[in-house]
Symmetry: C2
Subunit: 371 residues, 2 copies
Amino acid sequence: MFYQIEKERICMTIYNFSAGPAVLPKPVLEIAQSEMLDYKGSGMSVMELSHRSSLFEAIIQDAESLLRELMAIPDNYKVLFLQGGASLQFSMVPLNLAQGKKALYVNTGSWSKKAISAAKALENIEVEVIASSEEQNFTSIPELPETVDQKAAYVHITTNNTIEGTAYAKIPSYGDVPVVADMSSNILANDYKVEDFGVIYAGAQKNIGPAGLTVAIVREDLLNQEAVFAPMLDYALQAKNNSLYNTPPTYAIYIAKLVFEWVKEQGGVAGITAKDREKAQLLYDAIEKSNLFKSPVEKASRSLTNIPFVTGDEALDKAFNQAALVEGFENLTGHRSVGGMRASLYNAFPLEGVEALIAFMEKFEQENGGN
Amino acid sequence: MFYQIEKERICMTIYNFSAGPAVLPKPVLEIAQSEMLDYKGSGMSVMELSHRSSLFEAIIQDAESLLRELMAIPDNYKVLFLQGGASLQFSMVPLNLAQGKKALYVNTGSWSKKAISAAKALENIEVEVIASSEEQNFTSIPELPETVDQKAAYVHITTNNTIEGTAYAKIPSYGDVPVVADMSSNILANDYKVEDFGVIYAGAQKNIGPAGLTVAIVREDLLNQEAVFAPMLDYALQAKNNSLYNTPPTYAIYIAKLVFEWVKEQGGVAGITAKDREKAQLLYDAIEKSNLFKSPVEKASRSLTNIPFVTGDEALDKAFNQAALVEGFENLTGHRSVGGMRASLYNAFPLEGVEALIAFMEKFEQENGGN
């Protein structure tokens, strides 16, 4: 089976539209490849370095300072390199910030729902959904209340909804109540300001690096005063130990550092976001122009990074996805809960891939009754 | 600074005695290097594969079946690929197995103490230490009681004590009370039988692969019936989802699969353990023969994988460690809590490295008043 794929694919360019784990910058993979057996003349792979070694300490410190620079993270925020993905943050955020308090959530899709459900599973925390676009099938970011209960621990939002293809154009502000954001699918691909958030967290496997690393950015005054019952889930303890309370995912942190260096070379977040806008605009324009394909998402809520589109005919969607795969467009099939197609255009996804997809969409439309 | 190191070290063989993250088999790193930009003709790195793709599904399934074969894991055990290290298991084990019950612990060193302290931090669980070698400075595995309270949820042991250099020669048996083991530092390097345990867990970064992956082997009847309050900490939920409840650490699982294939090529666990015994015996013999170096550990409790030794003179230990580093012996310094030296001889550590260390120890002894 593999051999057949290999044979057919020799010399074919592959474009990987995966929603995550996702495409990584080729120069990053090339550096990782060249250093695999010998990191900086140490005679060791980064995977073999003790997490207490000076070589690894330099890696994790560089990763942190690069991320601080890229996101302009103020000094009163801690940067934590953790494990367990956004899914573990769904429990850690309320455990650290909302014991005995009320926690407010905005429901914008599948991942918001998981965050809400994880918070509701905890005793001693009252969960309230203050806005939802569920009745609109999550095709937009809902209108948010102007004000919220000032005794609440936080307002939780999902800045970009990977499955539904929506994103916040503007971050709400609620006085003393901090905004906590799952930014997994548009971190380093937006013009938000860190100071508008109390906590930002993101699984790495979209715009940062390999799966198995989670970044959390926590405003210092929100660090828990009392210990959380499980040391690994305790923000304050992790912060006190500079993410080295136990052995962190060292290789994933190394790849993240390389990705941060690459983003910096692309002109930082401003530079890369300009490219993201160009890629997204090209595809949205092609969809708008098309008589076959359409976006299910309201214009004002459209994501730059995850772009779903449909023909409105399931059989035709399936035919498109099958034909696309043959042409080397990988992972274009929409999430099973939405159907159709989805192009995830993270930072490392090349412009040529978008152009190739659009050309393929036009060809498919001509051959399949578009007019 | 780096360049100086590089220049001095050109053509020098490096032996990495790190206690973890630790040396990996060179053939594994070579395969990872060759496949870094293109896994099996897919045009993608393993890091870029969706965890729902057929290519990654084959990787995780192969990893599981190889581990089942290597450890002869019976069918009534689940194999879970998790995150958070042994440190997160210290909380997960009692949360999943001991709610409203008594949990029994054997205290054999630093990591046992962390496990005990994490269990004690939980409400609703009564923790009892049934044996300890703390008064002997953890230089042996203590004598264990013949029987335990049959209402207890489990007896927790640390099969190999990475810092203190002790290991269980024999696994105790307590009727209906299962033995739960932190096997982080001697998994795949022992002749234990999985059926003698209720739960086995291990951080990957010693004998399995890169940091950031944790393997848990759980007997099915011990899977929690009631949900644990945080989905990511719930064994039953992880088992139901075949470790794909959320995005697992895909690249670490891929490296683990390559390591498992390598162990199989070495004659499986029996083959690799024979080599481990040979390496350890060589070093223990050299220590016994020496008039300068001695082992702080009782003979019957000595570990195959972590071998501390001391001169009894802190200044001389320091001089040895400094001289060793210059010769390319990396990470030989003992843990700060024990001092002296420690050679971690995990599966991938080569016999030649042990021979080179012994030759260096003999030379150092001649030059430093051994007689």
